[in-house]
Symmetry: C2
């Protein structure tokens, strides 16, 4: 088979097909690969995952990824060069955030594809434990509207403050057992957390079921809910 793709029409215009555009095509793929390279390191992916919930300082990100501050800083600059994060100064510290919503969509697409790998499936089983029943965003909305379910946000209070599903109750996972009385016994509890690969909601559901409650989890987490355009609140609007 011959290489039929490239060399055709030779006009004098800037966007002709030929040698010049072959070089441009290579440069374009090199530019795309810059973003690919940014996604090629587990620490960077973990920091992006943390930033998907809320903006964070370098020190906090380093702690969450279990790496030194200097290394976290270097990785964050790599992410910034690739256009994945942005930062602002807040007094003495620099606070990083995801550059835009497309970055989270990219992260979701990456996880969807990677989720099929044997390595990922095995790690996910170890992280999430026995699978628990999960409902879609649409199903959750329907149950809440019908008065059949109550939504519980199991993330740390700080992340709840930064943004949560409208109408959700904040009960951070470590406090869940002590605060069971706050949950109505006649409704199903739908728990959610950071996303599909966060262990908090499966653990919370397991705990609720051990206490005889009907419970399930939302398939994904708060970032997906927000990106789907569904109703959200934050600490300034609603408690």
């Amino acid at each position: 088979m011959e290489n039929a793709a490239s060399v055709q029409c030779a006009t004098d215009r800037p966007n002709e097909t030929g040698v010049g555009s072959q070089a441009a095509k290579i440069e374009l793929h090199e530019a795309f690969a810059l973003v690919g390279k940014a996604l090629a390191n587990p620490h960077r992916l973990e920091m992006l995952d943390v930033l998907a919930q809320e903006e964070r300082s370098v020190e906090v990100l380093a702690g969450r990824a279990a790496i030194s501050v200097a290394l976290a800083s270097a990785h964050l600059q790599a992410l910034r060069r690739a256009g994945l994060v942005a930062s602002r100064r807040d007094g003495n510290r620099i606070v990083y955030r995801l550059a835009n919503d497309d970055v989270y969509r990219l992260l979701t697409a990456l996880r969807t594809v990677a989720g099929g790998l044997a390595e990922a499936e095995q790690a996910a089983r170890r992280l999430l434990g026995t699978p628990v029943e999960a409902v879609s965003r649409e199903e959750l909305l329907a149950r809440v509207r019908a008065g059949d379910a109550v939504i519980v946000d199991l993330r740390p209070a700080e992340e709840y403050e930064a943004g949560h599903i409208a109408g959700a109750l904040s009960i951070p996972l470590p406090e869940l057992e002590a605060r069971l009385a706050e949950l109505p016994t006649d409704l199903e509890v739908v728990a959610y957390c950071r996303g599909p690969y966060c262990a908090m909601s499966p653990e919370g559901v397991a705990l609720l079921e051990r206490h005889g409650r009907r419970a399930c989890r939302l398939v994904d987490g708060f970032p997906e809910w927000r990106l789907a355009g569904l109703p959200v609140r934050d600490g300034r609007e609603d408690g």
Copy 2:
């Protein structure tokens, strides 16, 4: 990179918050990073782009990416390890294809994010030339249904055969000037090609306009159309 596989995790409860799940989280992000690494090379991205249109042999892929067959083979194995491509044997040759539709979605997300980078914008300008008017898939469908437009597929005939927008006419770009008579003069021509970073439809539109035709391009290409669930045909069903 350190290999902390499987040594930790001393609890007997599968999904407990603590050391074991910390290790699982790291492994999970390492698994995601495997896919990131696969996206970290311009040659691999170019081959994925080619495969988005149609399955291809190693030799053809090597030619399109302008690299040796041995190198292309090595890159394809890297892509296969990451679950991005699959292959089958066809007589004497091995034919590779994208592993599934999620891979194309990932590629699209990557390009969307990377498209904002200065490097990518510059390369895109060089590749695509002066921007031409572009219409969305919905707008295109509406114009065709109203009888206002005709759709032209500018890709090589082989790719048209492998799948095209229902109702589109196949006029490969090199033949366009010679085959102008086949296009009705009273309708607008909507051209499409491989995708948003393919130079064929901007070039085709420019050529049509030089010949006094009303023309514009579809913002993206055939793969996006197919993934959106819009009507498609292939060589066996329609000519």
